[in-house]
Amino acid sequence: MPSHFWLMVLFAFFVSLVFAVLLRDEPREQLKTGGMMLLGFVAAAYVLGWVMYLFPL
């Protein structure tokens, strides 16, 4: 099984792709929106992951 991180990246990729194509009409804008969204998802998950590290079960 791939790592949790890469599965999260794959999930973020699919969601970003569909939203970018839905929201924008021009390929250039789609690429920009999708890229920003993907970066946002991954960065947010990464930061939240480290925040959770501070609160062990």
Partner: protein, 136 residues
């Protein structure tokens, strides 16, 4: 006084209820087909590739296709989300895929991929509906 009509207000020839229903049904059954039949080929093609691929990833990750059980609301909602993908769902059921392996480490990932693929297709259907209505 003449008023300026917007795209949303303009009547469109292809906005009859039967045509709208056909576009929505097609968009549900084959992800992206609603866009392709309306001339938005590139968008439709991206949905046609991305959504079934996401669904297939969910099956590969040992996710489960939930049954329509009214007794458990969360399972019921998951089942609705699963069915949102259309034809790939029925193909997976015919192939006995999506039984779900609860003990697999990727089980919850698989469920998330399967349900999200269906939910995203619901959004794609709504977009195809808007295109057919002349709002986009």
């Amino acid at each position: 006084m003449a008023t300026k009509s917007t795209a949303a207000e303009r009547p469109r020839e292809g906005a009859e209820p039967a045509r709208l229903a056909l576009v929505c049904a097609l968009a549900w059954l084959v992800p992206g087909a609603g866009h392709i039949v309306q001339g938005r080929r590139l968008k439709g093609l991206i949905f046609l590739i991305a959504l079934p691929l996401m669904f297939a990833a969910g099956l590969w990750l040992d996710g489960r296709l939930f049954p329509l059980e009214m007794s458990d609301p969360l399972v019921f909602l998951g089942a609705i989300a699963n069915r949102g993908i259309g034809a790939p769902y029925f193909v997976a059921r015919m192939l006995d895929a999506g039984l779900g392996t609860v003990t697999a480490a990727s089980y919850e990932y698989g469920n998330t991929f399967l349900m999200t693929a269906g939910l995203l297709n619901f959004l794609v259907i709504l977009d195809a509906f808007d295109v057919a209505k002349g709002r986009k």
